[in-house]
Homo-oligomer: 171 residues x 2
DNA sequence: CCTAGGCCTTCCCATCATTGGAAGGTCAAG
DNA sequence: CTTGACCTTCCAATGATGGGAAGGCCTAGG
Protein backbone atom coordinates (compact mmCIF):
# COMPACT_ATOMS: atom_id res chain seq x y z
CA UNK A 1 0.00 0.00 0.00
CA UNK A 2 1.18 3.54 -0.55
CA UNK A 3 1.97 6.11 2.07
CA UNK A 4 -1.49 7.64 2.08
CA UNK A 5 -3.08 4.32 2.90
CA UNK A 6 -0.49 3.61 5.55
CA UNK A 7 -1.16 7.01 7.05
CA UNK A 8 -4.88 6.42 7.20
CA UNK A 9 -4.48 3.01 8.72
CA UNK A 10 -1.88 3.96 11.27
CA UNK A 11 -3.12 7.37 12.26
CA UNK A 12 0.28 8.88 11.49
CA UNK A 13 0.30 11.56 8.84
CA UNK A 14 2.18 10.93 5.61
CA UNK A 15 4.40 13.87 6.46
CA UNK A 16 5.31 12.32 9.76
CA UNK A 17 5.91 8.90 8.26
CA UNK A 18 8.46 10.40 5.91
CA UNK A 19 9.99 12.32 8.77
CA UNK A 20 10.27 9.24 10.96
CA UNK A 21 11.96 7.46 8.12
CA UNK A 22 14.35 10.34 7.53
CA UNK A 23 15.55 10.31 11.13
CA UNK A 24 15.80 6.55 11.18
CA UNK A 25 13.03 5.90 13.66
CA UNK A 26 11.42 3.47 11.25
CA UNK A 27 13.24 1.63 8.48
CA UNK A 28 13.25 2.99 4.97
CA UNK A 29 10.19 1.77 3.18
CA UNK A 30 10.50 -0.35 0.09
CA UNK A 31 9.99 1.50 -3.14
CA UNK A 32 8.02 0.64 -6.18
CA UNK A 33 9.61 1.22 -9.53
CA UNK A 34 7.76 4.47 -9.69
CA UNK A 35 9.56 5.67 -6.61
CA UNK A 36 6.46 5.42 -4.42
CA UNK A 37 6.96 4.05 -0.95
CA UNK A 38 5.33 0.67 -0.45
CA UNK A 39 4.05 -0.42 2.96
CA UNK A 40 3.08 -3.81 4.33
CA UNK A 41 0.94 -4.67 7.35
CA UNK A 42 3.95 -4.90 9.62
CA UNK A 43 4.97 -1.40 8.72
CA UNK A 44 1.54 -0.17 9.69
CA UNK A 45 1.78 -2.00 13.00
CA UNK A 46 5.05 -0.33 13.70
CA UNK A 47 3.59 3.05 12.91
CA UNK A 48 0.68 2.40 15.22
CA UNK A 49 3.17 1.49 17.90
CA UNK A 50 4.96 4.79 17.37
CA UNK A 51 1.75 6.76 17.40
CA UNK A 52 0.57 5.23 20.65
CA UNK A 53 3.89 5.85 22.28
CA UNK A 54 3.67 9.46 21.19
CA UNK A 55 0.14 9.70 22.53
CA UNK A 56 1.59 8.68 25.85
CA UNK A 57 4.05 11.52 25.59
CA UNK A 58 7.22 9.57 24.84
CA UNK A 59 9.85 11.51 22.98
CA UNK A 60 11.24 10.16 19.77
CA UNK A 61 14.54 8.98 21.24
CA UNK A 62 12.59 7.05 23.85
CA UNK A 63 10.35 5.57 21.24
CA UNK A 64 13.45 4.36 19.54
CA UNK A 65 14.38 2.56 22.74
CA UNK A 66 10.91 1.11 22.97
CA UNK A 67 11.05 -0.14 19.41
CA UNK A 68 14.34 -1.84 20.07
CA UNK A 69 12.90 -3.49 23.14
CA UNK A 70 9.89 -4.52 21.17
CA UNK A 71 12.05 -6.35 18.68
CA UNK A 72 13.89 -7.99 21.52
CA UNK A 73 11.44 -10.44 22.96
CA UNK A 74 13.92 -11.66 25.50
CA UNK A 75 14.74 -9.14 28.14
CA UNK A 76 11.90 -6.72 27.65
CA UNK A 77 9.81 -6.61 30.74
CA UNK A 78 11.98 -4.91 33.32
CA UNK A 79 13.56 -2.49 30.90
CA UNK A 80 10.25 -1.42 29.54
CA UNK A 81 9.02 -0.76 33.02
CA UNK A 82 12.11 1.28 33.82
CA UNK A 83 11.62 3.35 30.71
CA UNK A 84 7.99 3.91 31.54
CA UNK A 85 8.82 4.79 35.13
CA UNK A 86 11.34 7.42 34.19
CA UNK A 87 8.93 8.83 31.66
CA UNK A 88 6.24 9.01 34.29
CA UNK A 89 8.49 11.02 36.55
CA UNK A 90 9.20 13.46 33.76
CA UNK A 91 5.51 13.82 33.19
CA UNK A 92 4.95 14.33 36.87
CA UNK A 93 7.52 17.09 36.92
CA UNK A 94 5.71 18.82 34.08
CA UNK A 95 2.40 18.40 35.82
CA UNK A 96 3.78 19.85 39.02
CA UNK A 97 5.07 22.86 37.17
CA UNK A 98 1.72 23.47 35.55
CA UNK A 99 -0.33 22.96 38.65
CA UNK A 100 2.01 25.31 40.44
CA UNK A 101 1.26 27.99 37.88
CA UNK A 102 -2.43 27.30 38.16
CA UNK A 103 -2.28 27.60 41.92
CA UNK A 104 -0.46 30.89 41.80
CA UNK A 105 -2.80 32.30 39.21
CA UNK A 106 -5.91 31.20 41.02
CA UNK A 107 -4.63 32.76 44.21
CA UNK A 108 -3.99 36.00 42.43
CA UNK A 109 -7.36 35.93 40.71
CA UNK A 110 -9.14 35.43 43.97
CA UNK A 111 -7.48 38.39 45.62
CA UNK A 112 -8.12 40.36 42.48
CA UNK A 113 -11.83 39.66 42.77
CA UNK A 114 -11.85 40.70 46.39
CA UNK A 115 -10.16 43.93 45.43
CA UNK A 116 -13.17 44.89 43.39
CA UNK A 117 -12.96 46.60 40.07
CA UNK A 118 -11.86 49.95 41.42
CA UNK A 119 -8.48 49.05 42.84
CA UNK A 120 -5.27 47.98 41.24
CA UNK A 121 -5.31 44.40 40.21
CA UNK A 122 -3.09 42.32 42.49
CA UNK A 123 -2.13 40.22 39.51
CA UNK A 124 -0.47 43.22 37.96
CA UNK A 125 1.08 44.27 41.22
CA UNK A 126 2.61 40.86 41.54
CA UNK A 127 3.93 40.71 38.02
CA UNK A 128 5.28 44.20 38.30
CA UNK A 129 6.71 43.62 41.74
CA UNK A 130 4.83 46.69 42.94
CA UNK A 131 6.40 49.04 40.49
CA UNK A 132 4.60 51.61 38.44
CA UNK A 133 4.38 50.88 34.73
CA UNK A 134 7.27 52.47 32.89
CA UNK A 135 6.18 55.58 31.03
CA UNK A 136 7.16 54.29 27.64
CA UNK A 137 5.10 51.38 26.53
CA UNK A 138 6.42 48.96 23.93
CA UNK A 139 6.42 50.59 20.61
CA UNK A 140 8.43 49.69 17.56
CA UNK A 141 8.30 46.26 16.14
CA UNK A 142 10.39 44.30 13.81
CA UNK A 143 9.87 40.64 13.27
CA UNK A 144 6.33 40.86 14.58
CA UNK A 145 4.84 38.83 17.32
CA UNK A 146 2.86 36.10 15.72
CA UNK A 147 -0.64 37.15 15.17
CA UNK A 148 -0.68 40.73 16.18
CA UNK A 149 0.60 43.76 14.45
CA UNK A 150 0.00 45.78 11.45
CA UNK A 151 1.50 48.82 9.97
CA UNK A 152 2.80 51.05 12.68
CA UNK A 153 5.25 53.05 10.79
CA UNK A 154 6.76 54.67 13.73
CA UNK A 155 9.01 56.89 11.95
CA UNK A 156 11.57 59.15 13.30
CA UNK A 157 11.62 58.75 16.85
CA UNK A 158 12.22 62.13 18.07
CA UNK A 159 9.13 62.20 20.23
CA UNK A 160 9.69 61.24 23.76
CA UNK A 161 6.56 59.26 24.06
CA UNK A 162 4.18 58.29 21.41
CA UNK A 163 1.02 59.51 22.94
CA UNK A 164 -0.31 60.22 19.58
CA UNK A 165 -1.32 57.33 17.51
CA UNK A 166 -1.39 53.77 18.44
CA UNK A 167 1.79 52.70 19.76
CA UNK A 168 2.37 49.20 19.37
CA UNK A 169 1.04 46.28 18.06
CA UNK A 170 -2.49 46.92 18.21
CA UNK A 171 -4.55 44.05 17.53
CA UNK B 1 23.54 50.04 32.49
CA UNK B 2 24.44 47.67 29.69
CA UNK B 3 22.56 44.60 28.61
CA UNK B 4 24.56 42.23 30.78
CA UNK B 5 23.71 44.16 33.90
CA UNK B 6 20.08 44.40 32.88
CA UNK B 7 20.05 40.67 32.28
CA UNK B 8 21.48 39.93 35.69
CA UNK B 9 19.08 42.24 37.44
CA UNK B 10 15.98 41.14 35.59
CA UNK B 11 16.65 37.46 35.32
CA UNK B 12 16.15 37.60 31.56
CA UNK B 13 19.14 36.53 29.48
CA UNK B 14 20.80 39.10 27.25
CA UNK B 15 19.87 36.95 24.29
CA UNK B 16 16.24 37.06 25.24
CA UNK B 17 16.29 40.77 25.89
CA UNK B 18 17.51 41.37 22.36
CA UNK B 19 14.93 38.96 21.05
CA UNK B 20 12.10 40.63 22.94
CA UNK B 21 13.22 43.91 21.52
CA UNK B 22 13.37 42.52 18.00
CA UNK B 23 9.79 41.31 18.11
CA UNK B 24 8.58 44.52 19.69
CA UNK B 25 7.62 43.07 23.05
CA UNK B 26 9.72 45.68 24.78
CA UNK B 27 10.72 49.02 23.30
CA UNK B 28 14.05 49.47 21.61
CA UNK B 29 16.66 50.34 24.16
CA UNK B 30 18.55 53.58 23.96
CA UNK B 31 22.01 53.30 22.55
CA UNK B 32 25.27 54.75 23.67
CA UNK B 33 27.55 56.22 21.06
CA UNK B 34 29.41 52.97 21.03
CA UNK B 35 26.27 51.18 19.89
CA UNK B 36 25.81 49.44 23.22
CA UNK B 37 22.27 49.26 24.55
CA UNK B 38 21.66 51.35 27.61
CA UNK B 39 19.07 50.36 30.21
CA UNK B 40 17.41 52.28 33.02
CA UNK B 41 15.60 51.01 36.09
CA UNK B 42 12.24 51.12 34.39
CA UNK B 43 13.50 48.89 31.63
CA UNK B 44 14.59 46.37 34.19
CA UNK B 45 11.18 46.52 35.86
CA UNK B 46 9.53 45.82 32.56
CA UNK B 47 11.81 42.87 31.96
CA UNK B 48 11.03 41.50 35.39
CA UNK B 49 7.36 41.82 34.53
CA UNK B 50 7.91 39.85 31.36
CA UNK B 51 9.91 37.18 33.11
CA UNK B 52 7.31 36.66 35.79
CA UNK B 53 4.57 36.43 33.24
CA UNK B 54 6.59 33.82 31.42
CA UNK B 55 7.19 31.95 34.65
CA UNK B 56 3.43 31.75 34.94
CA UNK B 57 3.31 30.23 31.49
CA UNK B 58 1.91 33.16 29.53
CA UNK B 59 2.77 33.17 25.85
CA UNK B 60 4.47 36.18 24.36
CA UNK B 61 1.35 37.53 22.64
CA UNK B 62 -0.47 37.36 25.95
CA UNK B 63 2.35 39.10 27.71
CA UNK B 64 2.03 41.82 25.17
CA UNK B 65 -1.60 42.18 26.19
CA UNK B 66 -0.62 42.23 29.84
CA UNK B 67 1.96 44.92 29.22
CA UNK B 68 -0.62 47.06 27.50
CA UNK B 69 -2.98 46.62 30.39
CA UNK B 70 -0.20 47.46 32.77
CA UNK B 71 0.38 50.76 31.07
CA UNK B 72 -3.32 51.41 31.15
CA UNK B 73 -4.10 52.07 34.77
CA UNK B 74 -7.72 52.69 34.00
CA UNK B 75 -9.58 49.62 32.90
CA UNK B 76 -7.19 46.97 34.04
CA UNK B 77 -8.79 44.89 36.68
CA UNK B 78 -11.47 42.92 34.89
CA UNK B 79 -9.52 42.46 31.71
CA UNK B 80 -6.52 41.17 33.55
CA UNK B 81 -8.69 38.70 35.35
CA UNK B 82 -10.23 37.54 32.10
CA UNK B 83 -6.80 37.05 30.57
CA UNK B 84 -5.66 35.13 33.61
CA UNK B 85 -8.81 33.01 33.62
CA UNK B 86 -8.46 31.97 30.01
CA UNK B 87 -4.82 31.20 30.59
CA UNK B 88 -5.73 29.07 33.56
CA UNK B 89 -8.10 27.02 31.48
CA UNK B 90 -5.40 26.43 28.89
CA UNK B 91 -3.10 25.28 31.64
CA UNK B 92 -5.77 23.03 33.02
CA UNK B 93 -6.24 21.42 29.65
CA UNK B 94 -2.51 20.71 29.48
CA UNK B 95 -2.54 19.33 32.98
CA UNK B 96 -5.45 17.06 32.18
CA UNK B 97 -3.63 15.72 29.16
CA UNK B 98 -0.54 14.97 31.18
CA UNK B 99 -2.33 13.40 34.11
CA UNK B 100 -4.22 11.26 31.64
CA UNK B 101 -0.96 9.96 30.26
CA UNK B 102 0.35 9.35 33.75
CA UNK B 103 -2.77 7.42 34.66
CA UNK B 104 -2.56 5.21 31.62
CA UNK B 105 1.12 4.54 32.14
CA UNK B 106 0.75 3.75 35.78
CA UNK B 107 -2.03 1.33 35.01
CA UNK B 108 0.13 -0.41 32.47
CA UNK B 109 3.09 -0.51 34.78
CA UNK B 110 1.06 -2.10 37.51
CA UNK B 111 -0.20 -4.89 35.30
CA UNK B 112 3.31 -5.27 33.99
CA UNK B 113 4.58 -5.87 37.50
CA UNK B 114 1.92 -8.39 38.15
CA UNK B 115 2.87 -10.20 35.00
CA UNK B 116 6.28 -10.91 36.45
CA UNK B 117 9.47 -10.77 34.48
CA UNK B 118 8.86 -13.87 32.47
CA UNK B 119 5.82 -12.87 30.46
CA UNK B 120 5.26 -10.35 27.74
CA UNK B 121 5.11 -6.86 29.10
CA UNK B 122 1.55 -5.53 28.87
CA UNK B 123 2.95 -2.11 28.08
CA UNK B 124 4.38 -3.47 24.91
CA UNK B 125 1.26 -5.42 24.13
CA UNK B 126 -0.75 -2.28 24.47
CA UNK B 127 1.54 -0.15 22.34
CA UNK B 128 1.74 -2.85 19.74
CA UNK B 129 -1.96 -3.55 19.84
CA UNK B 130 -1.14 -7.23 20.41
CA UNK B 131 0.88 -7.61 17.29
CA UNK B 132 4.17 -9.31 16.99
CA UNK B 133 7.18 -7.06 16.42
CA UNK B 134 7.89 -6.69 12.73
CA UNK B 135 10.92 -8.70 11.69
CA UNK B 136 12.85 -5.71 10.48
CA UNK B 137 13.94 -3.42 13.24
CA UNK B 138 14.87 0.18 12.61
CA UNK B 139 18.24 0.30 11.11
CA UNK B 140 19.87 2.99 9.10
CA UNK B 141 20.16 6.42 10.51
CA UNK B 142 20.15 9.54 8.58
CA UNK B 143 19.75 12.74 10.45
CA UNK B 144 20.22 10.86 13.71
CA UNK B 145 17.82 11.00 16.54
CA UNK B 146 19.16 13.37 19.09
CA UNK B 147 21.15 11.67 21.69
CA UNK B 148 21.43 8.14 20.62
CA UNK B 149 23.07 6.37 17.78
CA UNK B 150 26.14 4.47 17.21
CA UNK B 151 27.01 1.41 19.08
CA UNK B 152 23.88 0.02 17.60
CA UNK B 153 24.76 -3.54 18.37
CA UNK B 154 22.11 -5.12 16.29
CA UNK B 155 24.62 -7.15 14.45
CA UNK B 156 22.66 -10.35 14.62
CA UNK B 157 20.19 -9.82 11.91
CA UNK B 158 22.34 -9.46 8.89
CA UNK B 159 19.66 -11.27 7.06
CA UNK B 160 19.15 -9.65 3.77
CA UNK B 161 16.92 -7.05 5.07
CA UNK B 162 18.07 -4.24 2.99
CA UNK B 163 17.49 -5.88 -0.26
CA UNK B 164 17.13 -2.77 -2.23
CA UNK B 165 20.35 -1.05 -2.81
CA UNK B 166 18.79 2.14 -1.69
CA UNK B 167 20.19 3.50 1.36
CA UNK B 168 19.40 6.08 3.75
CA UNK B 169 18.16 9.18 2.39
CA UNK B 170 21.31 11.02 2.81
CA UNK B 171 21.03 14.37 1.26
C1' DC C 1 -4.85 8.06 -26.90
C1' DC C 2 -5.44 12.11 -24.06
C1' DT C 3 -6.62 14.55 -20.06
C1' DA C 4 -8.15 15.68 -15.38
C1' DG C 5 -7.30 15.34 -10.83
C1' DG C 6 -5.58 12.85 -7.12
C1' DC C 7 -1.83 10.90 -5.24
C1' DC C 8 3.09 10.64 -4.85
C1' DT C 9 8.04 12.57 -4.72
C1' DT C 10 11.59 15.99 -2.79
C1' DC C 11 12.78 20.35 -0.81
C1' DC C 12 12.10 24.53 1.70
C1' DC C 13 9.80 27.34 5.18
C1' DA C 14 7.29 28.32 9.61
C1' DT C 15 6.15 27.46 14.19
C1' DC C 16 7.64 28.80 19.70
C1' DA C 17 11.05 30.34 22.92
C1' DT C 18 15.55 29.76 23.65
C1' DT C 19 20.38 28.77 23.29
C1' DG C 20 24.82 28.55 20.87
C1' DG C 21 28.33 30.28 18.15
C1' DA C 22 31.05 33.09 14.77
C1' DA C 23 33.08 37.45 13.40
C1' DG C 24 34.10 41.69 14.77
C1' DG C 25 33.83 46.25 17.66
C1' DT C 26 34.37 48.47 22.55
C1' DC C 27 35.80 49.13 27.16
C1' DA C 28 38.53 48.99 31.33
C1' DA C 29 42.40 47.38 33.82
C1' DG C 30 47.16 46.14 33.89
C1' DC D 1 49.35 48.53 24.17
C1' DT D 2 47.58 44.24 25.26
C1' DT D 3 44.37 41.29 27.20
C1' DG D 4 40.07 39.67 28.33
C1' DA D 5 35.43 40.66 29.25
C1' DC D 6 31.86 42.56 27.28
C1' DC D 7 29.11 44.23 23.45
C1' DT D 8 27.25 44.15 18.46
C1' DT D 9 24.81 41.57 14.46
C1' DC D 10 23.70 37.48 11.97
C1' DC D 11 22.90 32.56 11.33
C1' DA D 12 21.76 28.00 12.95
C1' DA D 13 19.63 24.49 15.74
C1' DT D 14 16.32 22.58 18.86
C1' DG D 15 11.23 18.96 18.62
C1' DA D 16 7.47 17.61 16.30
C1' DT D 17 4.55 19.06 13.10
C1' DG D 18 2.14 21.45 9.23
C1' DG D 19 2.03 24.10 4.81
C1' DG D 20 3.10 24.50 0.30
C1' DA D 21 5.62 24.55 -4.25
C1' DA D 22 7.31 22.07 -8.37
C1' DG D 23 7.18 18.14 -10.70
C1' DG D 24 6.33 12.92 -11.49
C1' DC D 25 2.95 8.94 -11.42
C1' DC D 26 -1.50 6.60 -11.87
C1' DT D 27 -6.15 5.80 -12.98
C1' DA D 28 -10.71 6.63 -14.75
C1' DG D 29 -13.48 8.75 -18.22
C1' DG D 30 -14.03 10.51 -22.67
Amino acid sequence: MNIGQAAKRSGVSAKMIRYYESIGLVPSADRLESGYRDYAEDDVHRLVFVRRARDLGFSIPRIQDLLELWGNTGRSNGEVRALAASHVSELEAQARKITGMIGTLRGLMTSCERAGHRAHCPIMDELADHHRPPPVRPKAKARTVAGRQENDTRGAGSETVGKSGREVVGR
